[in-house]
């Protein structure tokens, strides 16, 4: 029994080490001074902690980190609010055909975005939002609607219908119920949805790389450019990758429980 238990932990620890290896390599490499960065010394620890790769990476990525921040905050808020409105209607005010509407909205979550990219760019171009953060915000709000609607709909499904009915008997209207009953109960829902959208929009690449160039680029595009460039040393690339990953990693470390709930909600049934 004890032997089996030890064996189980050994397997778990081995796989956990495998999962942590990339982060360790990122950390080790990013703290190395330039003269210790060579392909043959990838696994050796730095002789002294050196922040120069971080200052270099930060100077390259800082404007793009700001772009990502300007993108992710409004896009997250707007898509969460719209999702809450849709979820309220689709769970508590169902009508004939509302299931069809919901399924139609859901399908938008699964499409390869390549299949809407050419018209989207033509459209953004025609309203002068191509290569702008506002254009990217708009894009993320629209294509974030399916997942935020799904999450709020499943979240509101757990609020008993009898509460709504009681409020109606008391004379509360559609908007009154939303404001006084639904929204106060939605805080967890907003946290889960906001974390999910924050992570997804921050990490997104396809829209970012096609809709923006140079000064409006979010951080993931800048990171990809940094790693594609031949003249940038890979300690700087690793420091850059860590900087770009830091916000979502911090959110995960601090609020991981809610992140996992979002993850599970993404599988349609919730």
């Amino acid at each position: 029994m004890v032997v089996r238990k030890i064996a189980k932990y050994a397997v778990l620890i081995a796989i956990a080490l495998f999962f942590l290896t990339p982060v360790c390599v990122m950390l080790i490499t990013s703290f190395k001074p330039l003269d210790e960065v060579s392909l043959s010394e990838m696994w050796s620890l730095p002789s002294a902690i050196d922040f120069s790769s971080y200052t270099h990476a930060f100077s390259e990525l800082a404007p793009n980190l700001m772009n990502s921040l300007y993108l992710v905050i409004p896009a997250t808020l707007l898509s969460a609010i719209l999702g809450a409105m849709n979820g309220y209607v689709l769970s508590k005010w169902r009508f004939k055909g509302s299931e069809v509407v919901f399924t139609m909205i859901l399908f938008g979550m699964f499409i390869p975005y390549q299949s809407i990219l050419i018209p989207l760019i033509q459209f953004l171009n025609s309203i002068n939002l191509y290569n702008s953060i506002i254009g990217l915000i708009f894009t993320h709000v629209v294509y974030g609607l399916p997942i935020t609607t799904l999450m709020f709909r499943n979240f509101y499904a757990n609020i008993p219908d009898s509460m709504i009915e009681a409020a109606q008997v008391d004379g509360a209207s559609f908007l009154g119920i939303f404001r006084q009953i639904i929204l106060p109960l939605s805080i967890t829902g907003f946290v889960v949805v906001a974390i999910w959208q924050f992570t997804n929009i921050w990490n997104e690449f396809l829209f970012a790389v096609t809709i923006t160039n140079n000064n409006a680029q979010p951080v993931m595009v800048a990171l990809q450019n940094l790693s594609g460039s031949q003249i940038v040393q890979w300690n700087v690339q690793m420091a850059g990758a860590l900087l770009a990953a830091m916000p979502t990693l911090l959110v995960y470390i601090l609020l991981g429980k809610y992140f996992v709930r979002g993850l599970l909600a993404g599988s349609v049934k919730g």
Binding site: N86, L106, Q114, P119, N203, F205, M220, A245
Partner: protein, 302 residues
């Protein structure tokens, strides 16, 4: 009277989002489909009708044939490993109670990272002249990882050699590292949902631990496996950023996928109609998995 006003408000709440989805999802897919039937393969739009010319070109194209082959093998390996590893880890965590949340957090954190970050890091870890190869050197093996141009068990089919592209294994490793957390979380949720009484009852009936898993627990997890397969399949059919950041299309297109081809041919080469045709093929492949899944799960829910 009041009820009808509320009903109207409900429709007004939903209308903006629904309208956006109708235009930007369905309308735009229709427009992409129209572009894919046009002659727009230059910088200047040319919407004259070309019939299926772009599709016929793609299916005869060496690069696109390689993309389809790579997608098939990537999808199979990726889904297989994500499920085996996720299920295995979930069962292990189910049996060892101590330190569970720490392990779960370690297996799940790559889910919070961008595919671009994953690509940048694994590009170095699986670089043939550094990374893991420095350990493998001790055993005298030096895999060429994503730079390998060999096709395993290959045979000539169309203009390509059909078989497992060895370079794809490197991409699979990175993708599995990132996405295993998803299946693990799904299986952990499924296992916690199985009431303890059920296991107790099986134990009283004299079933061994292994039998309980095989006869009682695994069958109950089948719907979860179905969900994981569908979600992973659609991710793998759409995959773009990981490969674009990690390897690019590779020599002889050994790591190329439709997502990368679409991006490069459309936005770097200005072959808009060809790019649109690739996008429509990708959409159809995804729809084959997703539409039955959506209809099925909606029916079960209501």
């Amino acid at each position: 009277m009041k009820i009808t006003r509320d009903r109207l408000m409900a429709l007004l709440f939903l209308a903006p989002s629904f309208l956006l989805i109708v235009i930007f999802v369905y309308g735009f897919i229709g427009w992409t489909g129209w572009v894919s039937l046009s002659n727009w393969n230059t910088l200047v739009p040319d919407m004259s009708f070309a019939g299926l010319k772009n599709y016929i070109y793609l299916f005869g194209d060496y690069r696109f044939q390689a993309d389809l082959r790579n997608t098939v093998f990537f999808t199979i390996l990726f889904i297989g490993f994500v499920i085996i590893l996720g299920l295995g880890l979930a069962i292990l965590l189910d049996q060892t109670k101590k330190g569970n949340s720490l392990f779960r957090n370690i297996f799940l954190f790559p889910m919070a990272l961008s595919f671009v970050v994953t690509g940048v890091v694994w590009q170095w870890l699986l670089n043939p002249s550094t990374g893991f190869n420095q350990f493998l050197q001790v055993f005298g093996i030096q895999p060429k990882w994503y730079t390998d141009t060999n096709i395993l068990a290959g045979f000539q089919w169309g203009s390509i050699e059909f078989g497992l592209p060895v370079a794809m294994i490197a991409v699979v490793i990175a993708a599995v590292w990132q996405m295993t957390g998803f299946s693990l979380a799904m299986y952990v949720a499924g296992l916690t949902g199985i009431p303890d009484e059920l296991r107790e009852a099986a134990r009283i009936d004299g079933a061994s631990e292994l039998q309980i898993y095989r006869k009682v627990i695994l069958p109950m997890l089948t719907p979860i496996t179905m969900s994981v397969v569908i979600i992973m399949a659609h991710i793998s059919l759409k995959i773009f950023d990981l490969i674009y950041a990690m390897t690019g299309s590779g020599a002889n297109f050994v790591t190329d996928v439709p997502g990368v081809y679409m991006f490069e041919t459309t936005f770097r080469g200005n072959y808009y109609a060809n790019g649109a045709a690739i996008a429509i093929i990708m959409l159809l492949l995804v729809a084959v998995f997703i539409v039955p899944y959506l209809i099925n799960s909606r029916r079960g829910a209501s």
